[in-house]
């Protein structure tokens, strides 16, 4: 399952993820990360069974964590079902349904944001909450 982790600037110099991996003994996969002196913003993929353990470890080190349930929002009023989002997406979130309208596989999204500007009709938004 995918989780969004946010670090405030004061813990940027600490190996938060590495310590969490060592202590939880869980395979954490970093899908996307932006880190600078102001803080860090990460999308990680973790085994579902370790969710509580990992979240507690991350929180105890000053990170805030939220589940990525609907990482991307498709505005159906604006979407014309062209498919411009399909080939731009590195994780194959978008696809055609039988009737050639667009389906969204939310599970796959890593919030890279490439599709946002590639949509000619401004129908896509990244969901950010933390």
């Amino acid at each position: 399952m995918k989780v969004r982790v946010y670090f405030p600037g004061k813990v940027v110099n600490e190996p938060v993820i590495a310590q969490t991996i060592l202590e939880s003994k869980s395979l954490i996969n970093i899908l996307r990360a932006t880190v600078d002196e102001h803080g860090g913003d990460m999308i990680i993929d973790i085994p579902e069974k370790d969710y509580t353990k990992i979240v507690n470890l991350l929180r105890s080190r000053g990170a805030s964590v939220s589940m990525l349930e609907k990482p991307i929002i498709l505005n159906e009023e604006k979407c014309i079902n062209c498919g411009a989002c399909i080939s731009i997406c590195p994780t194959k979130v978008f696809n055609y349904k039988e009737d050639k309208s667009i389906s969204v596989d939310y599970e796959r999204c890593i919030q890279c944001g490439l599709c946002i500007n590639a949509c000619p009709h401004q129908a896509l938004m990244v969901h950010r909450k933390c």
Partner: protein
């Protein structure tokens, strides 16, 4: 047994015409055979919904109390062309707002008009005896306009090129965002549902053909600009009354870092007069071939990387130079199909008759490149050029550079084909190392110029790669000249 248009229209009026969309038609022909399909089906409907930049609306605002001869006019800060009569203007879909830039343009004004929103109208003028007013600012809505006539100079391309990008940079184009290293490929057009693909010889579509345009009825008023029938790239010029249209079938779009455009919905009914027309309307995506072009080449004639069918494009993956490349459609097949079905509905209800074209669309025209005088690389390059053969010693190279007083020395094969390039800096570097042959120290990835390339394009390459010379090669990669920054600067002073 051929049918006449009168017979078909009579059936439409009586409410018993057999109408199918182009997708269904190919299945019917496959299932029942050509003869039976031609006999049973009266009309085939087509549809397309994609970005059609060459679109816009003629507006007549009526006269202000103190009359004005509008010299320049803006609608929500988007300028419309008013080099016509006093209160007439043409609002182009791609014109950008002077205050909002890429975020709002002519296409958005068209949408706001359709949605019944108020639009700010501003105009300025020099003032005349008959039109004394010099400036004007008011609010208008579609309802208050005398006319809002959509006239689109080029719509409904028969098919369109596929865009991809071989360079290492992301490109932002009218074909959408193109990821580096063939990261994706984009295409446009509804394929087998596209109007002109179903009547490629323009037997039924011509001047005066009544069509579905933006949710209302419209007409084909001639061939579109850049109409190129022999290459299979025919286009249509269309008109219709904006007041009868719907925002559902006219949608503004923003192509990131490119600009604004309008998605236009067009549907054309094709009367099945005979078996030949039935055969053409049974076209499938697999029968429609187009070209995959490399948009990273900033030239008019971009290289064709391969041919591809719409069936392959719609599969979501095509192969380009050994790489699996994901494809995306920029036009909406979903809405194209909806248009074909809506048009079918109109015909079945008997309130839309098919008009015979008054005149055929031209088939004997070509789409010519722009006439311009450009300076080409072959006109300004230095030639003959001093080169050195691969396998020569560094000492020989050093001698040549000093003797001939040059800075760049292309390394070539026996056949004079480019292998690499040496600069005096490379030679100095070699002195510090234990190198013996030119091949060991030359730069192998040489940026070259072509004979027919424009000097401007060569100059851009020099600047982009921060280099001072480009070997000029012919089609066989043989070195035939040299372009240098010092030679180019001399050109300017001359």
């Amino acid at each position: 047994m051929p049918k006449t248009l009168e017979e078909i229209n009579r059936k439409i009026k009586e409410g018993n015409a057999v109408v199918v969309d182009a997708e269904e038609m190919s299945l019917i022909v496959e299932e029942k055979g050509l003869a039976k399909a031609a006999k049973e089906v009266d009309v085939v409907t087509t549809g397309t919904f994609g970005a059609m930049c060459s679109s816009g609306v003629f507006l007549n605002f009526g006269h202000s109390e103190e009359p004005i001869k509008m010299q320049r006019v803006w609608l929500n800060d988007v300028e419309a062309y008013t080099g016509i009569a006093a209160v007439d203007a043409y609002l182009g879909a791609t014109q950008l707002s002077e205050t909002k830039g890429f975020d709002y343009g002519g296409a958005h004004v068209i949408e706001d008009l359709l949605l019944g929103k108020e639009i700010e109208l501003r105009a300025v003028s020099y003032g005349t005896d008959c039109y004394p007013k010099k400036s004007l600012k008011t609010k208008i809505t579609l309802e208050y306009l005398n006319q809002a006539i959509m006239v689109n100079p080029r719509n409904a391309y028969q098919r369109y090129n596929v865009a991809t990008n071989s360079s290492d940079k992301t490109l932002y184009t009218y074909m959408g965002t193109l990821l580096p290293n063939f990261g994706n490929a984009t295409f446009s057009g509804a394929g087998a549902l596209s109007p002109l693909c179903n009547d490629p010889d323009y037997e039924t579509i011509g001047i005066g053909t009544k069509i579905f345009l933006g949710g209302g009825k419209g007409y084909v008023i001639g061939e579109g600009t850049q109409h190129n029938p022999k290459a299979g790239f025919g286009t249509l010029m269309v008109k219709g009354n904006l007041k009868e249209m719907s925002a559902e079938y006219l949608k503004p779009a923003i192509f990131h870092k490119y600009g604004v455009t309008l998605y236009v919905g067009i549907g054309v009914p094709i009367p099945v007069l005979n078996e030949s027309i039935a055969r053409k309307t049974a076209i499938k995506d697999a029968d429609i071939v187009t070209n995959v072009l490399d948009y990273s080449v900033p030239k008019r004639d971009r290289p064709i990387l391969r041919k591809v069918t719409y069936e392959e494009l719609k599969s979501g993956l095509i192969e380009i130079q050994g790489k699996e490349v994901p494809t995306s459609s920029l036009s909406s097949y979903f809405i194209a199909k909806k248009i074909a079905l809506e048009l079918k509905n109109w015909l079945e209800k008997g309130n839309f008759l098919i008009s015979a074209p008054l005149e055929k669309l031209p088939y004997d025209v070509v789409f010519k490149p722009m006439k311009e005088e450009i300076m080409r690389v072959k006109d300004v390059m230095l030639a003959p050029v001093i080169t050195i053969k691969g396998g020569s010693s560094i000492r020989e190279a050093a001698n040549l550079i000093i003797e001939k007083n040059i800075d760049h020395l292309p390394v070539v094969s026996k056949e004079n084909k480019i292998l690499g390039i040496l600069t005096s800096w490379d030679i100095s570097k070699a002195v510090l190392g234990k190198y013996r042959f030119v091949d060991e120290i030359m730069t192998e990835k040489v940026i070259t110029a072509e004979l027919e390339e424009s000097v401007e394009s060569a100059a851009k390459k020099l600047q982009e790669h921060n280099i001072s010379a480009l070997p000029v090669v012919d089609k066989e990669q043989k070195v035939v000249g040299m372009i240098t920054t010092s030679a180019l600067s001399k050109l300017l002073i001359k």
